[in-house]
C-alpha cells in the first residue's frame, strides 16, 4: 500500500466502524456457530477502503464492530472477496 493510499485512514473517521482481520483460528468456530461455509458469509470487496487499511486479503474474514441503534454494539463478519 502506498503512502498516497494511507494518507487518509478511513478507520479514523467517526462514522466508519472498527474493521479488523478475524484471526485464522477464530474463523472455523464462527462458521460452526452459524452452521455455514465461508461463502455463505456476507461479502466485502478487497477494494473497500476499510479493508485496504486493515490489509485483509481475499479469503480472509473481517470482523466489523459498530454502534447499533437497537443493540448498542453489534458485531458482523464479512468474507473479503476479489474486487471486480
Amino acid at each position: 500500500m502506498t503512502d498516497e493510499d494511507l494518507r487518509f485512514n478511513v478507520l479514523n473517521h467517526e462514522i466508519v466502524p472498527l474493521h479488523e482481520i478475524l484471526p485464522e483460528d477464530e474463523v472455523a468456530p464462527l462458521l460452526e456457530t452459524y452452521d455455514i461455509v465461508k461463502e455463505q458469509l456476507p461479502k466485502i470487496k478487497s477494494s473497500d477502503p476499510a479493508v485496504k487499511v486493515v490489509g485483509a486479503k481475499p479469503g480472509q474474514v473481517v470482523r466489523i464492530t459498530r454502534a447499533s441503534p437497537t443493540a448498542g454494539r453489534f458485531t458482523a463478519y464479512r468474507l473479503v472477496v476479489e474486487a471486480i
Partner: protein
C-alpha cells in the same frame, strides 16, 4: 405424471444463451411457409400457409400432423419463412453496432494490435477463471477498439459507424445494406468473439442478420372463432401475414430485375415488418396498428411489463377458491370476523378428508346436496359441491345424485364442503403495502351481497366503504389454516411491527361514544355520564356482559321520582382487567394545562385507572385508538392479543351503544359563530392586508430590512407568509373562544374521533393563505395572478390570501386560488403513489426470500447470512414496547405497586 420425478427439487447446473443459426431454424421447422393465406373457403387450413396443420393443433378432436398428438399434448411445432433478402434483428442491433465499431471491414479482426490484444486476452482469461461476467469486459473492448482508425492487421482504414435508429447502419455516412453488414460480420474470426462477449459455439455474429425467420407454432397464436362464425386471428399471425406478403413482393421484384430503388423500398418495408414483429414499441419507428387503430401486441409486448408473461403469468397467477366483492361495515362483528354473502359461501369450498371418524358427518353433508335449505332459525347451512375420490376422480354433487354419492362414499375421499361459519380465510385489500393488508378472519355467512367487517379493521386495510372491493381466499390445507390462525389473524396484528404499539384500535364514533360516556363534562360531582339503569343494562347487553354488575345509585329525577342510575365510568370499568393500573393525560386535555389542573374532577383530563376501575378521566383517543391507545397497548402487552381483541370488540360496542342511546350529531350550525366574532375575524383580515401593504410599500421604497442570507424578495415573501399565517391562527383562536365542548365538531376534534381544530377554524373562521410549492400563488397572467388585479400587485388578496371561511363562502378569486392549492395536493399524491409503488416493488423483489432462522439470524433461500441477528438486537418489534425489549417504567411501577399492596412481588 410421475410424482417421484416431478416432485424432486432440482438444481439448475448452468444456463447458456445463444442465437439460432439459419441451419438450426430450418432444422426445427416442420414446414416452410410460403403463402400469406390462412384458411381456404371451406375453412380448412392451407398447406404451407400460416395455419398449416403441421404447426400443431388448436381444434379439439383433431390430431397433429407432425407428432400425432391431440390438443394439450402436442406442444406445437415451428415453421420457417425464407427471407428474400437478409434483415437485421432489432434485438441484436446494439451488439451489431459494437461489433462493427470494433472490427475491421477488410479482415474482420478486432482492431487491436498484437500487444494490446494479448493484454485483453489475459484479462479475459482471468474473468472466465473467476466466473465473472465477461460482458462487462466486452463493453470496455468495444469502447477501446472503436477509437482505432486504422486496422493494425491489414492497414484498412476504419470508418465511423453511425446508427439510424433502430436498424440502419452507416459507414462514414454511407448506408450499408443488411447484406453488407452480414458479409462484414461473417469475416469476424471465431477466436475474436470471446473478447466481444460472444461464445462462437452458440452465437456467430452473422446470425444477428436474419436470412430465415422462424414461424411460431399455432398453439402460440391460436385463432378465435367469434359467435358470428367469423374467424379472428392473433396479432402475431397478422404480423406474419405482412412479413410473408412483403417478402413475396420483394422476391418477385428482385427476380424480375426491378429498379434498385423499388427493391430497396420493399427491403426496408420487410425490415420494418420484421422489426415490429419482434417489438412493436421500438423507438424511432411508428408502431404497427390493427385496422381499428389499436397497436399490435407482438412478441416483446407479450413478455414485457406488468401485463407481460413474467409479471402477470409467472410471478403472479389467477387463483381458485377466491372471491371479490364490495365491502361494507358491520359493527356487530368481532374484529376477527368477516361477513361473507351466502352466494359466495355456496361457491367456495373447504376440502374435508373423509376418515372413519368423520364418515357419518361427511355422508350427512353430502346428503344435503349443493344447495341445502336452511332449517328453521338458520339462514344458511353448508352443502357439498364436489367429492374427490381417492383415484382422483371428481364427482359433482347435485340434488339428484347426492344420495347415490353419499352411499358410495369411502374413506380416503375428499369432500369439498361449502364455506361455513368459523372457517379461516385470508382477507385482502390492494394495494397490499404492508402485512396488515392481508389478514386472516373467521367467516360469518350472512345474507346480502357484500363482504362485511368491523370498523377497527379499516385503517390497517386502508379501506373505506365508498365502493371499495376486497378479496377473500379460502385456505385449503390444515397446515395453511393453522399457520394463518397463529400468524395472520386480525388479533395477532393489533400490535404493529413498525413501532411496537397498537395499529388497530377504536375509531371515530367509538371514541366519541366512550368519551361522552366516561367524561365528567365539567360536572365535578359526576363520574362520567349518568345512565338510567335501563339504559345501562342495554349497553351492557350489547357487549354480552356477565359478572359483577357495576354499582347502582338512586336519585330523584326532574319529576321527583326516585330512579336508579349507573355512572358511565363504572360502566366502562366492566371492560377492564382487574389488575390494570394506569395514569396518563387524556388527548382532550388542552395543551399547556398543568397536571394539577387536569386532575380536577371538573376538568377530568387525567385518566386514572386503579385495579381495573376507571377512577378519573375521560376515555378518548389516548386510551383506545390505534397508535396512541395506552389502555389498548397495556392490555395487549400484559394479557395478550386475545384479551386485547376482546377489549376492542367490547369497547367499540359500548361506545356505539351509548352513542345510540344518547344521540350524537353534527351539522352546519356547529360552524356558526356570533356576528361579533365574525367582525373580529374580518377586522383581523383587514389588519393583515394593511400590514402586508405596508411590507410591500417598504419593499418598494427599499426600507425593508433583508433577513440574513436572503434577498429582499425572499424577505418580503417570508414576512408576508408570517403575517397571513398569524391571521389564520388568530381567527382560529377567535373560533376556539366561541365554541365549546357542547359543540359536536369541537368534541370530536378534542377527543380525537375525527377532524381537528384547524379544520374547524377553516370552516368557521378563515381558510388562510393558499400556497403552491410552499410559496404564495404567483403564476397566472402577465405580471399578475388573475385579471382582477393590477400588474405587479404584491398585496395579500392578489396572491392567494383567503380571508373567508368555508361556511361564509369564498369570493371568486379566493375560490380560484384555493383550487390551485388543492390541485397541487392531488398531483403530489398521484406522483407519490406511482413513485413509491415502484420503490416498494424493487424492495420486495430484493427481500422476498429472507427469513429469520431458528437461531435468530436472517438468511435467504440460498442459506447466505444476511444479518447475524435479526434487527441486531433479535427483538420482535410486534412484541416490543415501542421498540424496546423491556419497558422499565412498566416494570418499576408494577413492582412498586405490588410491594405497596403487600402482595407477592416481582415482574
Amino acid at each position: 405424471m410421475n410424482p417421484t420425478l416431478t416432485n424432486q427439487p432440482k438444481k439448475i447446473g448452468y444456463m447458456e444463451f445463444g442465437l439460432l443459426s439459419p441451419k438450426e431454424v430450418r432444422g426445427l421447422s416442420a414446414t416452410k411457409i410460403i403463402t400469406a393465406d390462412t384458411y381456404d373457403d371451406d375453412g380448412f387450413p392451407i398447406e404451407m400457409g400460416l395455419m398449416d396443420p403441421r404447426l400443431g393443433v388448436i381444434e379439439p378432436g383433431l390430431r397433429c400432423k407432425t407428432c400425432g398428438q391431440k390438443v394439450g399434448d402436442c406442444p406445437g411445432h415451428f415453421g420457417h419463412i425464407d427471407l428474400a433478402m437478409p434483415v437485421i434483428h432489432v434485438g441484436c442491433a446494439r451488439t451489431v453496432r459494437d461489433i462493427l465499431r470494433s472490427s475491421c471491414r477488410g479482415c474482420g479482426k478486432v482492431l487491436f494490435s498484437e500487444r494490446i490484444r494479448e493484454e485483453y486476452d489475459r484479462i479475459l482469461a482471468s474473468y472466465l477463471n473467476e466466473g465473472k461476467d465477461a460482458s462487462v469486459l466486452a463493453k470496455k473492448v468495444a469502447k477501446d477498439a472503436s477509437n482505432v482508425t486504422v486496422c493494425p492487421h491489414c492497414g484498412r482504414e476504419h470508418g465511423a459507424i453511425d446508427v439510424d435508429k433502430p436498424t440502419t447502419f452507416r459507414e462514414n455516412g454511407h448506408k450499408m445494406t443488411p447484406s453488407e453488414v452480414r458479409e462484414w460480420l461473417e469475416k469476424v474470426p471465431d477466436e475474436d468473439l470471446p473478447l466481444l462477449g460472444l461464445n462462437p459455439a452458440v452465437c456467430r455474429p452473422e446470425w444477428m442478420v436474419l436470412t430465415v425467420l422462424p414461424v411460431p407454432p399455432v398453439t402460440m397464436r391460436p385463432s378465435i372463432t367469434l359467435e358470428s362464425g367469423e374467424r379472428s386471428e392473433d396479432d402475431l399471425t397478422h404480423k406474419l401475414v405482412d412479413v410473408i406478403r412483403i417478402n413475396q413482393r420483394l422476391q418477385e421484384n428482385r427476380d424480375a430485375g426491378a429498379p434498385q430503388l423499388i427493391v430497396e423500398d420493399l427491403w426496408e418495408l420487410l425490415q420494418y415488418h420484421i422489426t415490429t414483429y419482434f417489438d412493436n414499441q421500438t423507438a424511432g419507428i411508428p408502431p404497427a396498428r390493427h385496422r381499428s387503430g389499436r397497436p399490435l401486441k407482438t412478441i416483446s409486448q407479450r413478455l414485457k411489463g406488468k401485463e407481460g408473461r413474467f409479471r402477470s403469468n409467472l410471478s403472479g397467477k389467477r387463483v381458485n377458491f377466491s372471491a371479490r366483492t364490495v365491502i361494507s361495515p358491520d359493527p356487530n362483528l368481532s374484529i376477527n370476523e368477516v361477513g361473507c354473502p351466502i352466494q359466495c359461501a355456496r361457491e367456495l369450498t373447504v376440502p374435508v378428508r373423509v376418515t372413519p371418524a368423520n364418515f357419518a358427518h361427511c355422508q350427512e353433508l353430502i346428503l344435503r346436496g349443493n344447495d341445502p335449505e336452511a332449517p328453521a332459525g338458520k339462514l344458511y347451512i353448508p352443502g357439498v359441491n364436489y367429492v374427490r375420490r381417492a383415484d382422483g376422480r371428481r364427482v359433482k354433487v347435485t340434488d339428484k345424485n347426492c344420495e347415490e354419492v353419499a352411499k358410495r362414499l369411502d374413506v380416503g375421499s375428499t369432500v369439498e364442503r361449502q364455506l361455513n361459519d368459523g372457517d379461516v380465510v385470508l382477507f385482502n385489500r390492494q394495494p397490499t403495502l404492508h402485512r396488515m393488508s392481508m389478514m386472516a378472519h373467521t367467516v360469518r355467512v350472512m345474507p346480502g351481497k357484500t363482504f362485511r367487517f368491523n370498523l377497527p379493521c379499516c385503517p390497517p386495510y386502508n379501506a373505506d366503504f365508498d365502493g371499495d372491493e376486497m378479496n377473500m381466499h379460502i385456505l385449503q390445507g390444515e397446515e395453511a389454516r393453522s399457520e394463518a390462525e397463529i400468524l395472520m389473524k386480525v388479533q395477532e396484528n393489533i400490535r404493529s411491527p413498525r413501532f411496537g404499539g397498537p395499529i388497530i384500535g377504536a375509531i371515530h364514533d367509538h371514541i366519541s361514544g366512550n368519551f361522552l360516556l366516561t367524561w365528567n363534562f365539567f360536572n365535578a360531582d359526576a363520574k362520567g355520564a349518568k345512565l338510567p339503569i335501563e339504559d345501562a343494562t342495554q349497553v351492557l347487553a350489547r357487549v354480552g356482559f356477565r359478572g359483577q354488575a357495576p354499582p347502582v345509585f338512586s336519585e330523584k329525577d326532574e319529576r321527583g321520582e326516585v330512579r336508579k342510575y349507573v355512572w358511565g365510568k363504572d360502566l366502562f370499568s366492566t371492560l377492564l382487567p382487574d389488575d390494570l393500573n394506569l395514569q396518563f393525560r387524556a388527548a382532550a386535555c388542552p395543551p399547556g394545562m398543568s397536571e394539577e389542573e387536569a386532575r380536577k374532577p371538573e376538568n377530568d383530563y387525567w385518566v386514572v385507572i386503579e385495579d381495573g376501575q376507571l377512577v378519573a378521566g375521560g376515555i378518548d383517543e389516548k386510551s383506545i385508538a390505534s397508535f396512541k391507545g395506552v389502555i389498548l397497548d397495556a392490555i395487549s402487552r400484559k394479557h395478550g392479543n386475545a384479551r386485547a381483541r376482546e377489549f376492542l370488540d367490547k369497547v367499540t360496542k359500548i361506545g356505539n351503544g351509548f352513542l345510540t342511546l344518547r344521540g350524537f350529531s353534527t351539522s352546519i350550525d356547529d360552524e356558526d359563530i356570533p356576528d361579533s366574532a365574525r367582525e373580529e375575524i374580518d377586522e383581523k383580515a383587514a389588519e393583515t392586508r394593511r400590514r402586508v401593504d405596508a411590507l410591500v410599500a417598504s419593499y418598494a421604497d427599499g426600507t425593508l430590512q433583508a433577513l440574513p442570507g436572503r434577498t429582499m424578495e425572499e424577505t418580503l415573501e417570508m414576512e408576508i407568509m408570517r403575517e397571513t399565517g398569524q391571521a389564520r391562527d388568530g381567527a382560529g383562536e377567535v373560533v376556539a373562544s366561541q365554541v365549546g365542548m357542547t359543540n359536536s365538531a369541537v368534541l370530536m376534534a378534542r377527543c380525537g374521533a375525527r377532524g381537528s381544530m384547524l379544520n374547524l377554524s377553516q370552516m368557521a373562521g378563515m381558510v388562510g393563505q393558499q400556497a403552491v410549492r410552499g410559496e404564495r400563488i404567483k403564476r397566472g397572467y402577465k405580471n399578475r395572478t388573475l385579471p382582477h388585479f393590477r400588474w405587479g400587485d404584491l398585496g395579500a388578496n392578489a396572491k392567494g390570501f383567503v380571508a373567508s371561511s368555508y361556511k361564509v363562502g369564498l369570493t371568486p378569486t379566493e375560490y380560484f386560488f384555493h383550487s390551485m392549492g388543492g390541485r397541487e395536493g392531488l398531483v403530489d399524491t398521484a406522483v407519490r403513489t406511482s413513485r413509491s409503488g415502484y420503490m416498494q416493488r424493487r424492495l420486495i423483489n430484493a427481500l422476498e426470500d429472507l427469513k429469520v432462522a431458528a437461531d435468530g439470524s436472517v438468511r435467504n433461500t440460498a442459506g447466505t447470512l444476511i444479518q447475524f441477528q435479526y434487527g441486531e438486537d433479535g427483538i420482535d418489534p410486534t412484541r416490543s414496547a415501542g421498540g424496546e425489549g423491556i419497558d422499565y417504567d412498566f416494570v418499576f411501577t408494577e413492582v412498586e405497586r405490588r410491594s405497596k399492596k403487600g402482595k407477592k412481588g416481582g415482574a
